[in-house]
Amino acid sequence: MDVSKKIKILVVDDFATMRKVIRNLLKQSGYENITEAEDGVVAMNMLKSTKIDFVISDWNMPNMTGIELLKAVRSDNELGSMPFLMVTAESLKDNVVEAVKAGVSNYIVKPFTAEVLGEKIDKILENIK
């Protein structure tokens, strides 16, 4: 098995069903080590207390949005270089620019296939090697 497939991925989305959908797509791409958080606040706590290798986060969430989570991660001394894939329902130019400025590793627009998701993750991991 490809070593990169063993990474621990944190899926952040306020909809439990969407977390399950992404989990299902990740499994189809060969990723099995997956954990979940329902918003940015919970995700940040998990990132501080658990070893996570990769974050996939929705943009629109209550309490702490995806972009707020990204900014919090990037400004944290220990988590600053965490690979971060942002999920959005639309490719709004302003959102993309904001995410890139905040240091997002890449972004993916819903709907997406397991293949596209896998390619995005592989590309991010390739860039940090």
Partner: protein, 155 residues
């Protein structure tokens, strides 16, 4: 309502369901609808604002949505539970996003509200604009569903 808005929603619906749920719904002939009654057992509705105001609703029969969500989750779902409602909201959101992207390519600027999900026998779909709206019927082996659109004139 201008018929040029039909194709973006038709194509957006097929694109979303094909990508996320691996199904190929067959579109039927669009028609005008005058009342608020939903065609399906569970519906998602989302408001659209910007240079064109309107709303979009997707209304699924039980058979069609059970198949769609089962495929999306990779496990068999047998009743209209909370996961189905969540998924209908998310599908509505994604279809709206895919259709808006196509309409924006015509030169308009659009955004959307958060989707609302309604279920139950004879529930109604209240479009933002009122009046008549266009329905695109779809067929799947497991049952039908419709895409119900109401779009105003550009402002």
């Amino acid at each position: 309502m201008d018929v040029k808005y039909i194709n973006p929603f038709l194509e957006g619906t097929i694109e979303v369901l094909k990508t996320m749920a691996f199904v190929n719904p067959r579109p039927g002939k669009p028609y005008l609808k005058q009342n608020n009654l939903a065609k399906g057992d569970v519906s998602g509705i989302i408001g659209i604002t910007g240079t064109i105001k309107g709303s979009l609703a997707l209304s699924f029969s039980t058979g069609s949505i059970l198949k769609i969500v089962s495929n999306m989750l990779g496990e068999e779902i047998t009743s209209l539970n909370g996961e189905i409602r969540d998924a209908v909201g998310e599908i509505t959101n994604m279809v709206s996003g895919a259709a808006r992207k196509k309409i924006e390519a015509m030169g308009y600027s659009l955004s959307a509200s958060l989707p609302t999900v309604v279920s139950g026998e004879d529930h109604s779909i209240m479009h933002v604009l009122g009046g008549s709206n266009i329905v695109i019927p779809f067929e799947m082996d497991e049952g039908p569903f419709v895409v119900d659109i109401s779009m105003g004139d550009p402002q």
